[in-house]
């Protein structure tokens, strides 16, 4: 493979990862506030269909993207309402919404299926685009890919280096302490669930108006991505930078699956497409196994150099969820 083709392919990996990054960072923010938004798979499909329909009708890409964010925020608001106000299981409501929004997108999207709609074009950055290697890789992308790259440090700084970010971590980690310090847990959880949902909702239009432009119903190839997003969020250990790394890893693996296809003619394309999943399970195992008690015990029995090396590796991979994730907060009613 020549260098140019490799560069273009890697640039394509960055583009393909953009929607996953938006969705994963949105989900990370929501889960940091203590709300699991399990509806992701339906949210992305409904946002993709809705934004495509809006962009098609209004001929405006901006309105299309806006519609995607609105849909994502609205679905997240239902999850927040059910869990914060009604104190129902977030997982149950999220799962139902994942299925319901998927079917709703297929039903409502039927009339626009297969229509040619507007598509986001790439906007090379003058001067920077002609830098060798970096130019074709980074600076000939479309606006949303640039934004996805910018979103990573922005989200990290917000979560770990700002005052509202501190409160955000507090309401997911130890809501009672944040409550004593005067934070309105319920309202903040609503706010971050909706903001996270809106950011994740943008993944929809990034697919239907750019990466996989158009709406093709059940064969749009978007069913399943939301579930991957949830797995990558855990892989990311609720840290925007690590989550983005997971998103890039996933896109890279899917691209490798396509590249390796000709080398393995006996293996159907659909099999290589799912190649990242066993790896995802394996990494989830590595990320979580350090929390298990029997691992500590068996580690203690190993000879010293191996033990130190292994426990260091496990600690580096390990991630613990926000302590109050998925639990309702009873503010002394």
């Amino acid at each position: 493979m020549s260098g140019d083709i490799l560069l273009i392919s890697l640039a394509g990996v960055l583009t393909a990862a953009a929607p996953v990054i938006f969705a994963v960072i949105g989900e990370t923010i929501s889960e940091r506030a203590g709300i699991i938004n399990l509806s992701m798979n339906g949210t992305i499909l409904l946002a993709a269909m809705g934004s495509f329909t809006v962009a098609l009708a209004t001929k405006s890409l901006i309105l299309g993207f806006l519609a995607g964010a609105l849909i994502g925020g609205f679905v997240a608001a239902i999850v927040a309402f059910a869990s914060v106000t009604l104190r129902q299981s977030q997982v149950a409501v999220g799962f139902v919404l994942a299925v319901l929004c998927r079917d709703l997108s297929y039903f409502l999207g039927n009339p626009v299926m297969g229509e040619a709609g507007p598509r986001l074009s790439s906007s090379p950055i003058p001067l920077a685009a002609s830098i060798p290697i970096l130019g074709p890789l980074l600076f000939r992308q479309d606006v949303m890919t640039y934004l996805s790259i910018l979103l990573i440090p922005l989200a990290w700084v917000f979560v770990f280096r700002t005052r509202p970010g501190l409160v955000l971590r507090g309401i997911g980690e130890k809501p009672s302490a944040a409550y004593v310090r005067g934070a309105n847990i319920g309202r903040l959880r609503y706010r971050y669930a909706v903001i996270g949902g809106a950011i994740a909702g943008l993944a929809g239009p990034i697919y239907s108006l750019s990466v996989k432009a158009g709406w093709k119903g059940t064969i749009s190839g978007l069913d399943g991505i939301g579930w991957i997003v949830l797995a990558v969020t855990i892989f990311g250990g609720w840290n925007p930078v690590r989550a983005a790394f997971g998103a890039y890893l996933f896109s890279l693996l899917q691209w490798l699956g396509l590249v390796l296809q000709p080398a393995m003619p006996g293996v159907p394309a659909q099999v290589l497409q799912v190649a990242p999943f066993p790896l995802m399970i394996l990494t989830l195992l590595l990320v979580n196994v350090g929390n298990a008690e029997w691992v500590e015990r068996s580690l203690a029995r190993l000879p010293e150099p191996t033990r130190r090396w292994l426990s260091k590796l496990l600690r580096a991979m390990n991630a613990t969820p926000p302590a109050a994730l998925g639990t309702p907060f009873e503010d002394g009613e």
Partner: protein, 349 residues
């Protein structure tokens, strides 16, 4: 406000009315005649014995999936991996069929063995998710989701690779089995087999008895309500979780095996047909109680089969069934929350 039986019913009916209203709004918004759409679904499901027998054909795997899930829900587990467990049941059943057919074994015996092999496949795939959960700390939702994708991949690989039709591999699946090895159906044209109905009914009865009439079920409930307290009381928590995973896997595997031996007579790419996820919706709608599972599963199966004609007759997408099922479950959940909300507000006064 007292949390009486009447209140409960009021909010449940309210949830159902809201769900129907919202689905009607969706229909009107897509410029479809709502009444004609509902009538079409009803006729498509109950209009003739022929279509109703199709409803029963789809009721069997749905009820089996729901029955298994009632056990995992009771112990507090979200076995989303059930789709993969159905697929693996189908794979194992096909494998047993392929290795035994033409070997001179009694056909009835081969069918029985392959259905048992299906149950075994489901158990193995469920235990994998269970082991990831209990020994690896991987949440069963995410382990299960990943395993679903892997099961789909294995299925496709078999259909397009080792088990492909002579000549050309295709999405239509593997070579159909000998006619002698099809699970006997009511009539030659029908796909409805009495024995599969018997298996499904026996399954839900077994689960009902297990949960509400045995010590085992009582302990499952204890683990589901409060695993820590149950553990301190001396209930081996993880064994109970693994056991419920295994039983649910067996039910899912049976569903997959029946799809292979009675309905399709071969392995096809989308063999699980979404019955696993639909089973989760049924279990949620009946609030995880076994008594109502059979009729609600029948209703969901009727919606699915009834909507098949929608694209042809009314130019509507058949996912309308899923929209109606989803809004029903969502609004019944929300209504339950609203009832508790008002009960809390009332209690404070």
């Amino acid at each position: 406000m007292r949390d009486s039986r009447g209140m409960r019913a009021f909010f449940q009916v309210g949830g159902i009315v809201f769900a129907l209203a919202l689905t009607t709004v969706v229909l009107v918004a897509s410029k479809a005649p709502p009444f004609a759409a509902y009538l079409n679904i009803a006729l498509g499901a109950f209009g003739s014995w022929e279509v109703f027998s199709n409803v029963l054909v789809s009721w069997v795997p749905l009820l089996l999936a729901t029955s298994g899930l009632l056990l995992t829900f009771t112990v507090g587990l979200w076995n989303i991996g059930i789709e993969g467990q159905i697929t693996f049941g189908a794979i194992f059943a096909t494998w047993a069929m392929r290795s035994l057919q033409g070997g001179g074994t009694d056909p009835a015996f081969v069918i029985m063995l392959s259905i048992l092999a299906g149950a075994l496949g489901g158990i193995l795939w469920a235990m994998l998710a269970g082991a990831l959960k209990t020994f690896g700390g991987v949440n069963e939702i995410f382990g299960g989701l990943g395993l679903n994708f892997v099961a789909t991949a294995v299925n496709l690989w078999l259909i397009f690779g080792p088990w492909k039709r002579p000549g050309i591999a295709s999405m239509s699946g593997t070579v159909p089995f000998d006619k002698a090895l099809w699970l006997p159906t009511l009539t030659a044209q029908s796909r409805l087999s009495p024995s599969s109905i018997a298996i499904a009914v026996a399954g839900i009865v077994l689960v009902y008895v297990l949960i509400s009439g045995t010590h085992f079920g009582l302990r499952l409930k204890a683990v589901g309500r409060n695993p820590r307290a149950a553990y301190l009381l001396g209930i081996p928590t993880w064994q109970y979780m693994m056991t419920s995973f295994a039983i649910c896997g067996a039910f899912a595997g049976l569903a997959g095996a029946i799809q292979v031996t009675a309905v399709y007579h071969r392995l096809i790419p989308s063999i699980s047909s979404g019955y696993g996820y639909l089973g989760m919706m049924v279990a949620m709608l009946v609030n995880y109680r076994a008594a109502l599972a059979a009729p609600v599963a029948l209703f969901f199966a009727a919606l699915n089969v009834g909507s098949i004609q929608l694209p042809i007759v009314l130019k509507l997408d058949s996912s309308l069934a899923g929209v109606l099922q989803g809004t029903l479950v969502l609004f019944v959940l929300l209504a339950q929350g609203a009832r508790e909300f008002f009960a809390r507000k009332g209690g404070k006064r």
